[in-house]
Symmetry: C2
Subunit: 129 residues, 2 copies
């Protein structure tokens, strides 16, 4: 081995496509929690709003739409007296559960970063003149 220019020969694979595709989905603040609450079974729109009290209707709708378009959740309208809509994980959505579990598992061991972004750092002295 003469003069190794770089220790690591090359990145194994460029995971841009699948990684990007999936993170577009899970990247939001709410999506993983949403999937978490759907794992126990189908849930209605308003139940989800109770599960995640801080989410706004708009965002919840938006996330559910994304998940639906990607085949992760199914949307079932039931013509009851007050109309109700049920969301449920599809089999494909079920494949996301191990991901969520892994995230939760590791998340518990991560340092929680006391101050999100403290930066007094180099406060430029305002010119006195």
């Amino acid at each position: 081995m003469a003069l190794r220019v770089r220790k690591n020969p090359a990145p194994p694979e460029p995971p841009d496509c699948p990684l990007g595709t999936c993170m577009k989905l899970l990247g939001g603040v709410w999506t993983p929690n949403l999937i978490w609450y759907l794992r126990a079974g189908p849930r209605r729109f308003s139940e989800l709003r109770v599960d995640l009290p801080k989410i706004s209707a708009k965002v919840l709708t938006s996330r559910l739409r994304d998940l639906e378009e990607r085949g992760v959740v199914s949307r079932t309208v039931r013509p009851t007296s007050p109309p109700s809509v049920e969301y449920a994980l599809t089999p494909l959505g079920g494949e996301l559960l191990p991901v969520i579990d892994a995230i939760v598992s590791v998340g518990g061991r991560l340092k929680a970063l006391a101050q999100p972004r403290r930066r007094p750092s180099k406060r430029r002295v305002p010119p006195a003149n």
Copy 2:
């Protein structure tokens, strides 16, 4: 059990803390890819910039700082002729690899959503007058 008000008794657990903590980290556009490229071994700042050609120095620095503060990567300054800095996954960071793998695995089966989010973005019509 008389009159079940809701089908699903209750959400199993509220994973807000670990889930939120971890997603704060993985939620970004670049972080998962960054970890991907670090998995093969330590890598220098400029190598990472080659691995991810589209990332800006600022964002790369920012992500690396986050990962460092949470104990996911280590930062090693080596006083070589041109100074070089090596980033590497810590053992804790290694625990994130299964997560990444799972994401990639599922990501490949997700529908890619033909139009991610077409938004001609309300190009404010410049007033013709």
